[in-house]
């Protein structure tokens, strides 16, 4: 895999160890992620891939007993420094979760939420952003006539695309996706995958997935985790055709997992 210059690194973990209480969940992880790529984190359940994803926007801060050693660098800055405001950080880093979690508000209000909590009151700007974000997440044509309807009335796949639109409205440069399609049917899944492919032009995307085919289809690079270790990190093509480690080979071919 090519070496990245400092400028090319969007996200980086340096000697990262993460603990929940006494239990170590990530062991000495080092990774550098290039801007405008899709990176997939794969590995069996409990291997630490979700925990790792959540260190990039500090969502683990609320987990009791969370502790980390080493550094997480985003855009050249250590995000666990005291002077970093975690709310500002999260505006730059959008997150999409495993289960669609729209707020119990209208479709419009869901997408406008991020702007409103920032104190933006300009109606025209909000309306434009809502439309743009819904178009970006390929949901606009399906909902443009009932923006006032409750977001909870949408189907699961639509809800998930709404959650993506909600994240995009803040114009982040990074999107973290935690198994975004695992609760969806195949058609919705393929819509989300197409979307990820398009969003790559503007965003750096990191996606945790259980689905190996999915990782193969949509990602440029793949990182394989096992029991808290980053076993192998390389171009997706290489990982899936000619991995260096036997453990990766075994997982990819379905011999365990």
């Amino acid at each position: 895999m090519e070496k990245l210059s400092i400028k090319e690194k969007k996200l980086e973990a340096i000697n990262l160890n993460v603990f929940y209480g006494q239990k170590q969940v990530l062991k000495d992880v080092n990774i550098a992620i290039k801007a405008n790529t899709v990176t997939a984190f794969i590995g069996p359940s409990g291997c630490g891939k979700s925990t790792f994803l959540r260190t990039f926007n500090r969502m683990n801060d609320y987990v009791e007993g969370f502790r980390k050693e080493g550094d997480i660098i985003v855009d050249g800055k250590d995000i666990y420094q005291k002077m970093i405001r975690v709310e500002e950080l999260r505006k730059k880093i959008g997150m999409v979760f495993q289960k669609p979690n729209p707020f119990p508000k209208s479709i419009f209000e869901n997408v406008a939420y991020g702007l409103k909590i920032q104190g933006i009151k300009n109606k025209k700007l909000i309306e434009e952003t809502v439309e743009k974000s819904l178009k970006q997440s390929a949901l606009w044509d399906e909902v443009k006539d009932d923006l006032k309807k409750s977001a909870l009335s949408l189907s699961g796949g639509q809800q998930q695309r709404l959650c993506i639109a909600r994240a995009l409205a803040l114009e982040p440069s990074i999107l973290l996706m935690d198994e975004p399609a695992s609760a969806l049917d195949p058609i919705s899944t393929s819509k989300i995958e197409d979307l990820i492919w398009e969003l790559k032009q503007k965003y750096t995307i990191v996606i945790v997935t259980h689905n190996m085919q999915q990782a193969g289809r949509i990602s440029d690079n793949t990182a394989f985790f096992y029991m808290g270790d980053l076993v192998e990190y390389d171009e997706t093509k290489k990982i899936f055709t000619n991995p260096e480690k036997e453990r990766t080979q075994n997982y990819i071919t379905g011999r365990f997992g």
Binding site: N57, M59, Y62, E64, E87, E88, L89, R90, K91, G94, M95, F97, K99, N101, P102, F103, P104, K105, Y113, G114, K116, I117, Q118, L152, C163, R166, A167, L170
Partner: protein, 284 residues
């Protein structure tokens, strides 16, 4: 064994039916002598003086006045406590403080009544000119303290039940804890909170000892919280402890007042039941 259980259930149901029957049959004979129109529109209530008036309005206004004072105090306070406990307080603190709050609800209401009469009223008289010795204000405030645990505890349950994924969604977009609590969690739990408020309202309407002890017993059509008032419940207590002959018109007023109260709380409970059924957000 099964039969014993069934008998227990039947006894409860029969008692309820019996109470409702007595209430309505006694007030039926009352309404044969006093027209429903007079009962609802006469602005004077004086069933035991020589010039008799049977207008429920002064008692109703006394009841609503004390209840509203209680609600104005208890609703913001109760919901704030609920948000603190559910969203801010460390787990351990919540674990100990919640049962403690519920103990507040276990204090006998007559104790609250004396607290209002002997502590709150003299204290307030130092600040509010024209505050009567028995007044709606202190009775209402103390009644508010009494229903706070009910609001905070039920609302806290509703807030706590909002799924973690919604909180994460809000935090993930850069919301602060305060924004998350007020913009996302509170609306998501609104049906449970409204139910808690209505139940507390019904509790305040039916509350007896605090208002009997601290608000006085003078049927008074007023909206001034400094004045002495009588609530429906306080009237019933005073009438029942006095020596009115059975089957007299005075005796039957107790039941007419009781029916009014019953209809009131029954409606409130039905509304809360309906809201619970209808508006509860479904999260799986």
């Amino acid at each position: 064994m099964k039969r014993v259980l069934m008998i227990c259930a039947i006894i409860t149901v029969l008692t309820t039916v019996g109470i409702v029957y007595v209430l309505f049959s006694e007030s039926f004979s009352f309404f044969q002598q006093v027209s429903l129109w007079d009962f609802l529109t006469d602005t004077k209530w004086s069933p035991i003086s020589t010039e008799k008036h049977f207008g429920i309005l002064p008692l109703l206004s006394g009841t609503l006045l004390t209840t509203f004072i209680a609600m104005i105090f208890a609703v913001p306070m109760g919901i704030t406590i609920a948000i603190y406990l559910s969203e801010y307080a460390p787990k351990k603190f919540r674990y100990y403080i919640k049962p403690l709050l519920e103990i507040l609800a276990a204090i006998p209401t007559v104790v609250y009544g004396f607290f209002a009469l002997t502590v709150v009223t003299p204290f307030l008289q130092g600040y509010i000119p024209g505050l009567a010795g028995f007044n709606a204000l202190s009775a209402g405030l103390v009644m508010g303290i009494m229903i706070i645990p009910m609001i905070s505890s039920l609302s806290e349950d509703a807030l706590y039940a909002v799924p973690k994924s919604l909180r994460e969604g809000a935090y993930g977009m850069g919301s602060t804890r305060l924004q998350t609590s007020f913009n996302v969690i509170l609306p998501a739990a609104s049906s449970g909170i409204i139910v808690s408020v209505i139940l507390a309202f019904a509790r305040a309407v039916g509350e007896t000892m605090i208002v009997t002890v601290a608000a006085g017993n003078m049927a008074n059509l007023t909206a001034d919280p400094r004045e002495t008032v009588a609530t429906i419940t306080a009237f019933i207590v005073n009438m029942s402890t006095g020596d009115v002959p059975q089957n007299s018109i005075e005796y039957q007023t107790i039941f007419a007042a009781g029916v009014t109260l019953f209809v009131f709380t029954f409606l409130l409970n039905s509304i809360s039941f309906y809201i619970k059924k209808r508006f509860q957000e479904k999260y799986d």
